[in-house]
Chain length 333, copies 2
Amino acid sequence: LKQQRDRLQNDHDLNIRLIGLTNSRQRLIQPEGIPLENWEEVLETQGSEADLADFLEQMKALHLPDSVLVDNTASSLVPTFYEGVFEAGISIVTCNKIANSGPYAQYESLKNTARKKGVSFFYETNVGAGLPIVRVLKDLVRTGDRVLKLEAILSGTISYIFNGYQGERTFHDVVQEAQSLGYTEPDPRDDLNGNDFVRKMLILAREVGYSIEAKDVQIDSILPQPCLEAPTIEAFYQELTRAEPHFERLKNEAAAGGKVLRYIGTLEDGQVKISLEAVGSDHPFFPLSGSDNIIAFTTERYRDQSLVVRGPGAGAAVTAAGVFADLLQVCTH
Amino acid sequence: LKQQRDRLQNDHDLNIRLIGLTNSRQRLIQPEGIPLENWEEVLETQGSEADLADFLEQMKALHLPDSVLVDNTASSLVPTFYEGVFEAGISIVTCNKIANSGPYAQYESLKNTARKKGVSFFYETNVGAGLPIVRVLKDLVRTGDRVLKLEAILSGTISYIFNGYQGERTFHDVVQEAQSLGYTEPDPRDDLNGNDFVRKMLILAREVGYSIEAKDVQIDSILPQPCLEAPTIEAFYQELTRAEPHFERLKNEAAAGGKVLRYIGTLEDGQVKISLEAVGSDHPFFPLSGSDNIIAFTTERYRDQSLVVRGPGAGAAVTAAGVFADLLQVCTH
């Protein structure tokens, strides 16, 4: 905001004022605007003890026109307030996936309330961080295209692991490397279980128009049962070593056909499944590298050749950029 | 519009009225709305002789709020009226590249007038038809990212030709096939000369912030001089056969290094060049197929791994979809 202030003012006649700030420790509301130059210091010295409910009530009580709440948390508490925020005529921009990937009824209710109150609800960064995915899908749907199939790799961590599982390296070593680079949760199984991937596929399926729940997603585990059941992380890694012949067999079978392993989420005929697939060089997911995300939209209009978006789908800078782009979108509404 | 009417009304509270229509033969303005069911018939039977200047004057005189002019032509006449349309407080959505790829001063003036009058000017389909390219670039720039490099293949025809120039087939035969499939202009040199590609690169470079003119673009011709100079299409094809050793040498040199030929537009350090390159399997443009377009955005935030968009970048259905998406964007502004 600080860096782009002049440009937004000059090029887009946009003047975005930062009125309130809260983290888990402190909160501050200054209707005249919190200085962008030293907001951290101001929050520290002039803020009072954090209290989310009270913070949001104060925000609503200001009755400022064109207000936007930006939820940059992954907290499950914040989304419980969304409905009330919309009711107060305030838009929401968020990278938080919780609201959109919870029960369908809640998702639907939020959408309806936002529409009823004429406010915006933008969450491009729920899927693939700053990559243009949710908006592309929205545009396809609202211009009347029919989605035939979505195929996606939406876990940077799992992507990194399968892109790196080549040559002489064991699956164990690739997972361990990903962990040492900080790409995984403390327990790598929290990534490898695919739960986050399920949330993202759910959000996309709902955007297409399916009233689908997490339990409807058919997910094939990457990990054999003993790896999942290992009581400690250390034990998990031991089981992973034991499971190497399993992974090696999958890899070699794929390689024999000139293919590579990819953990792919698919939406087709209203069904979402996530499974390990061997794909050949004619498949758009074949040349993936690093921790890239990728998605292929196959629709009535993009039938013979899909629309494909690819790139880093996680990280602070690209997520912040995506949230910022959403915010600018709301501001020009 | 007809097909999506109910959905737009119900889901987005949008009611888009078609007030005026003109093609090169007839024109019609009906402030109460032209029926979407049989507009062709209504234009035919109730329209008067086409007169663009008068049509636009009538449109302005209506002083309707939230008006949008949609220019679906490739005409160089229509853009000469854009400035006046903006002055009248009317937004423009267009797939027409002429205005944005003409003299920079004209481009800048249009942008300034639209901004001054608070109206929208959307032209996503200027580059890659319905693919999300212009908007992605806009979002990167206005959220403060720094574009380090753009690499793109933005000619479906040339893409098709080089993707098909493999194995035993001659360059001549691939070009002839592309022509017989209707992928090229009547004189295939109108595609192969890259002029359309230049226009698209120009638009992207200007979106990044460079005041660049067509003459600043460094373009390497695909075709040897005799092919360019051949007086007839027939003579051109004869020269193309004579030039086969030239193309074959390029192809074989590339193949010897495991590479393929791609005609790539690059923007770097404010310089645009378009040239034939041999790219290896590690390059994102290696696996391109059919008449796909592709673009890779390398920026400060997408530095190690680019943001890549790929898919069909021409055709009536996807272009119409892109224009429609732009129109909806204006309507929610």
